[in-house]
Amino acid sequence: MKHLRPVNQKARRIDELASLREDVVALQQNPQPAAQRPHIPMGCALAFSPGWEVDSAGGTAGLCQPVERDIYDCYVTCFWPAQVPDHLNNYPDWASKCAAATKDWRNLDLVFP
């Protein structure tokens, strides 16, 4: 850490953990991490996401990647223009009333650009 200098052993362990933190690496070019460890690639184009599929009964809860997750993938982490409001520039609060998508998905409203 740059601003906190660890001076006992517990602090050094926190410092080590901080340096090991996984960042979002898939779409970052610069700075390129020196040695990439196994990580979860971010973004729908890079991982197999079942996306909008439903199971045979029409439910989503049993999918490995339920639809609610997919909304966030498009909204937060994806560079691709997707059909959800963009989080970075125009609609940072779009999901702020939706703490748990499985329960609060009705609060995800339409936006009118």
Binding site: L4, N8, A11, R13, Y72
Partner: protein, 486 residues
């Protein structure tokens, strides 16, 4: 990435986490309470703390405030992220971490053998015989026999599986009143440990009245650590450390202590001082024991007593003790900055804990890694509870009563001490001595509220010293880096 990350960073409102700030050696430090971690702050981090001291601040405004103080936006973001990661600053809602249970099996490390409950002195403040005693020795053996001692050694070896180094402390009564047993235990324990390829080391506490050249030679030859109970120069020592006829014991022990320090060359000889109402001249006691007599280290503890005893130290007396501790601690710091060892062990002990960053669930190892065994074979949480029927945790022939041990540990756990939950000194104190709590409040699990301010004052002093050493002579702290328990 998950929703939580997305919806937080920009909309977070930050406030200060749980920490204690202090200065040392010209630098500013954070003692992070939930972790026991110590960080030195740079100017930017100190600025951030000052900003948040004024109240909860949203992310964007904090960035703007930091930028107004000369930080680049990128640096401000990184600073906030670091401080947030270390939990020096927190954002709502931050629920406290759920309580952790003690591990179901905790390997034993130290066994304290009370070789006898008999003593040739009649120190008035003694917790084993004095007015506040918890022991109920009536009808029990006065001296431990070899069968009980052997069973204890076997018990220690069996219950400490996985530990490389284990420890036996001989205690009393007056330990040396049962020296023949001590010799046999050392021989037996060494032989049994060697058969398992492990090492065992020994120490004893004594009032020094019975030391002879032969005993000193044995102790030295077998690397047995010795702590002498002694209260200072003659006029202080003799106030309460007396024989049954009231005669002081100083003149008897002084030549023996000198012979011990002279003749025992394999382990440093330490002394433990009990402070009482008439015996609070810490500086003079220290000078006498360290320089006149030549002890390696001197440790002090106020007497454990209910508050109405004549020898109890009142609040003003405790303030004076703290002032003198601080003066002696400043001297310790001067020594440390020159790379020299000072003999005030209260500082060394605390620095060692700060160096590790301990964060205690319980005030000490009693009933966890340490148990006491009385002459009758009763198992107690520690030597202070030996021979007490109320506190017995089983018998050496049948092992630890896990239900009783669990109850003792549940009561003594920091989670059950409500008053401690907002105290920044709790990682080190954890509510304080179980025995002290029992004498004061009748409950081993009661936090020792009568010395909270004192403990915070003393912990702050030790933190400042730790900070100054880490800033100006960090190599000195290396000696504390090794863990005691292996």
């Amino acid at each position: 990435m998950t929703a939580s990350h997305a919806t937080t960073t920009a909309t977070r409102a930050y406030r200060l986490g749980e920490f204690h700030t202090f200065e040392g050696g010209g630098s500013r430090f954070l003692y992070l309470v939930p972790a026991g971690a110590i960080f030195e702050l740079d100017e930017a981090a100190a600025t951030l703390i000052d900003l948040l001291s004024e109240g909860e601040t949203p992310h964007d405004r904090l960035i703007a405030d930091l930028a107004a103080r000369g930080l680049s936006f990128e640096d401000a973001e990184q600073l906030i992220e670091e401080m947030f990661y270390a939990r020096a600053i927190v954002a709502d809602p931050s629920a406290p971490a759920p309580p952790q249970n003690a591990p179901a099996v905790f390997p034993l490390q130290t066994l304290v053998l009370n070789l006898t409950n008999q003593c040739n002195l009649s120190c008035q403040y003694c917790y084993e015989f004095g007015e506040d005693k918890v022991a109920t020795p009536e009808g029990k053996p006065k001296f431990m026999d070899f069968e009980t001692a052997r069973a204890s050694v076997d018990f220690l070896l069996e219950q400490s599986a996985g530990r490389r180094a284990i420890h036996i402390t001989f205690f009393g009564g007056e330990t040396l009143m049962n020296f023949p047993l001590l010799k046999r235990v050392v021989a037996y324990a060494n032989q049994q440990a060697a058969a398992q390829g492990r090492t065992i080391d020994f120490s004893l506490t004594t009032n020094a009245t019975l030391l002879t050249p032969g005993i000193i030679e044995f102790l030295s030859e077998h690397h047995i650590g010795v702590t002498v109970s002694m209260d200072g120069p003659k006029e202080m020592h003799d106030q309460l450390r007396v024989f049954a006829n009231g005669r002081g014991s100083y003149d008897i022990i002084e030549p023996r202590v000198r012979a011990l320090i002279q003749g025992h060359r394999t382990r440093p000889i330490t002394v433990r001082v009990t402070l009482t109402s008439g015996v609070t001249d810490v500086l003079r006691i220290y000078r006498h024991l360290k320089h006149d007599l030549g002890f390696h280290e001197v440790g002090f503890a106020p007497v454990t007593t209910s508050p109405n005893r004549l020898y109890a130290i009142n609040e003003r007396g405790m303030d004076s003790v703290l002032d003198q501790f601080q003066a002696l601690a400043r001297e310790y710091l001067e020594f440390a900055l020159r790379g020299e060892l000072h003999g005030f062990s209260n500082v060394s002990d605390t620095l060692a804990e700060l160096c590790q960053g301990v964060n205690k669930s319980h005030p000490c190892g009693a009933a966890l890694g340490l148990l006491g065994v009385g002459p009758s074979g009763d198992i107690a949480p520690c030597h202070r509870f030996v021979d007490s029927d109320t506190h017995a945790l089983g018998h050496i022939s049948t092992g630890v009563d896990r239900a009783k041990q669990g109850e003792f540990l549940r009561r003594g756990h920091i989670d059950s001490k409500y008053e401690c939950h907002t105290c920044w000194a709790r990682p080190l104190c954890a509510g304080g001595c179980h025995h002290e709590a029992y004498v004061h409040y009748g409950d081993t699990g009661h936090p020792n509220l009568h010395y909270c301010d004192w403990i915070r004052g003393w912990t702050d002093t030790c933190l400042r010293i730790y900070g100054a050493i880490s800033a100006q002579n960090p190599g000195f702290l290396q000696q504390f880096a090794e863990r005691k328990a292996l």
